[in-house]
């Protein structure tokens, strides 16, 4: 099954980044019985005309690193278990070569939009006088003058016009052609900005009205199970240094949200013909730190990761866990009325650790994230001293040269640098997400408020030697890694961590 994830706007990119982190940790979609779903392939499609958006670039780099690491571990195989288990592909990778030309990128090509001022895009100057007057009523001057290469600066009325052309793009045609029976679609967008708030309903409309487009699988597409994460305000903005610059105003966030919710209520949810099958509402009003004012042309939107994005990243997994019968009338194939989901923390606090999440969340993310964090510590502090001993000497050998390979460099530098940056941002944002103790490289103390179990001689120990011993045991007579030392390292660690977490850390689930 393919899950096409449309990540729209800045929030889309940031939630997608959190989703990649969860996938890297080995979080996998499960069915209603808790069994991992097989053959799941995620195809992220980032829609944002603001290409220089730092959050978009960070997410794109992370996707690229994920792809490099995963391919080395599992090749093209969609089924895997462990770190980086979920296959994440570009649209081009899932489209057969005979179809329309595409960039091999996760980013939707919006060249038709991003190269223009909005005024030029709608050909304002060639309109007759009454149309110009009407347009001036609908759009403020700064909106008409907006260069769309910086996005729609919180103006969904621009986005709703500009993104209407998405359906004519090669990317959308390719998506429509490759979409098959059994595939699903998920949207990630904010409701209080410009790009996401407008893009979500427009693209859903284009999908539900796919009979008008030239695509071989349009019948499937029209009835596709669609889920959407709609992010309500969860951060605020500082005031602009320029008092006259009011392009984005905190005060508008709630008003825009209310208006958009009303619109979504009428068009996207319920049992209307353009309704989605499931919608996830998420917001965090009142616990947020103001971000620097940036409509897109100040500092390129380098915003810190936030709890909401991390929680939002679980929504696609939840959506995949819903069975077909929960989303679609299996007799007619028509979508069932929209199922709506909200999210609540176990405890309402400014400081969130693993115990702050409900049990379902803990069961989904606790072990995978702990494993990933312990892997980070192990690679930074342990592996170099272990090479040449124990499991590293079993075939396939992990040699000194291994630490110079592209895989190792991408994993330890590109990926784990991003991981630590993500964790640090989550920690220093409000709410403060303290899953692991910042800078702590002692495995016994790394997990916030989770201690090691008591043994006969005091607390049980967790360190690189414990991992080495467990991996030694697992590696002995294990011939399943062929000539893939990368898979060997990651799989041994993942399996060892599973046992060590069970045996040595207090159980918080």
């Amino acid at each position: 099954m393919k899950l096409f994830v449309f990540a729209i706007g800045g929030t889309g990119s940031r939630v997608l980044k959190s989703m990649i982190m969860l996938c890297a940790a080995g979080v996998r979609p499960v069915d209603s019985n808790g069994r991992p779903l097989n053959d799941v392939e995620i195809v992220p499609i980032i829609i944002d005309p603001h290409k220089s958006n730092a959050d978009l670039k960070r997410t794109e780099r992370l996707l690229s690193a994920y792809g490099t690491i995963r391919e080395k571990l599992y090749g093209k195989n969609a089924n895997a278990n462990g770190f980086f288990a979920t296959k994440i592909s570009t649209l081009k990778e899932v489209v057969s070569s005979s179809q329309v030309p595409l960039d091999d990128s996760f980013i939707f090509n919006l060249a038709a939009v991003e190269n223009y001022k909005f005024r030029d895009f709608i050909s304002y100057n060639t309109m007759n006088e009454p149309n110009q007057a009407l347009t001036s009523l609908l759009f403020a001057d700064y909106q008409l003058e907006n260069k769309m290469s910086i996005g729609f600066v919180g103006s969904p009325n621009i986005g709703s016009v500009a993104l209407n052309g998405v359906k004519d793009s090669n990317e959308f045609k390719a998506f429509a052609n490759v979409f098959a029976d059994g595939d699903r679609i998920f949207f990630i967008s904010s409701i209080f900005g410009g790009t996401g708030a407008a893009g979500f309903p427009i693209i859903v409309k284009n999908i539900r009205q796919a009979k008008n487009i030239d695509a071989k699988n349009k019948a499937f597409l029209q009835r596709a199970p669609i889920g959407g994460l709609t992010v309500l305000p969860y951060f605020s903005l500082m005031e602009s240094d320029d008092k006259n610059d009011k392009r984005i105003d905190n005060a508008d966030f709630v008003v825009k949200t209310q208006s958009a919710l009303e619109y979504y209520n009428n068009t996207l949810t319920g049992n209307g013909r353009n309704a989605v099958n499931a919608i996830f509402y998420l917001g965090d009003h009142g616990h947020n730190a103001p971000y620097a004012y940036d409509p897109g042309d100040k500092r390129d939107q380098h915003d810190p990761a936030h709890l909401i994005e991390m929680v939002g990243a679980m929504a696609p997994f939840k959506f995949l866990s819903l069975s077909d019968s929960e989303l679609t009338d299996l007799a007619t194939g028509e979508p069932l009325p929209t199922k709506a989901f909200e999210y609540g923390l176990e405890h309402d606090s400014d400081f969130i650790d693993f115990s702050g999440f409900g049990q379902e969340t803990r069961q989904l993310i606790y072990r995978p994230l702990v494993k990933l964090h312990l892997l980070y510590i192990f690679l930074r502090t342990g592996l170099n001293n272990i090479i040449g001993q124990g499991f590293t000497e079993d075939s396939p050998k992990i040699t000194r040269e291994f630490t110079g390979t592209q895989f190792y460099r991408v994993l330890t530098q590109q990926f784990f640098d991003s991981y630590i940056e993500w964790m640090t941002e989550l920690l220093h944002n409000r709410r403060h997400v303290t899953l692991f103790n910042e800078g702590e490289m002692d495995m016994n103390k790394a997990i916030h408020k989770v201690l090691t179990k008591k043994g006969i001689f005091g607390s049980k120990k967790v360190d690189n030697d414990v991992f080495k011993a467990e991996m030694n045991k697992l590696s002995r007579d294990n011939n399943s890694y062929g000539s893939n030392p990368e898979l060997k390292l990651m799989d041994l660690f993942y399996t060892a961590a599973e046992k060590i977490i069970t045996d040595r850390y207090d159980n918080i689930n």
């Binding site: 001993q389 079993d394 050998k397 030697d465 045991k473 007579d477």
Partner: protein, 146 residues
């Protein structure tokens, strides 16, 4: 797995051969009139060889399956264990020989023989190590990788 069993069988066979040809081997490295005759006549060679083999295999087994720790999995840890075996076994053998040759005055020869037995101890320890190390979880690559 089959290769490992072959190593074990070879090790066992070599050790048995060492015991069978103990007189020839010991006398090849240390042959002194009188002392060597008494060693042969009293059957001390058999006991010394058996002790050497048993202690080498026993100490190797302790290293690979009792100690079996990631903290002691380097070649120098193994070498230290070989050193222990090479000291301990000749000492035990010296005591056993002294027992066998009670009433004779071969003090220097007994000591020299025990000293030469270090060679056989080290050799049988190496053979034992390479026979049994494959199943050790933490030390199977010690002293040199498989």
């Amino acid at each position: 797995m089959r290769d490992k069993v072959i190593f074990l069988v070879i090790g066992a066979v070599v050790s048995v051969l060492f015991w069978i040809f103990r007189v020839e081997l010991y006398e090849a490295v240390y042959n002194v009139n009188g002392f060597s005759d008494q060693m042969y006549n009293t059957g001390a060679y058999g006991s010394v060889a058996a002790i050497t083999i048993a202690m080498s295999w026993g100490l190797a087994a302790i290293y690979y399956y009792v100690i079996n720790s990631v903290k002691f999995d380097r070649w120098y840890h193994w070498l230290a264990m070989l050193g222990v075996a090479s000291v301990l076994t000749p000492v035990v053998c010296y005591i056993v020989i002294a027992n066998f040759l009670e009433g004779f005055d071969y003090g220097t020869a007994e000591f020299t023989f025990a000293f030469y037995n270090i060679l056989f101890t080290a050799l049988t320890f190496v053979i034992a190590s390479f026979s049994m190390r494959w199943w050790s979880s933490n030390c199977r690559h010690t002293p040199i990788p498989q």
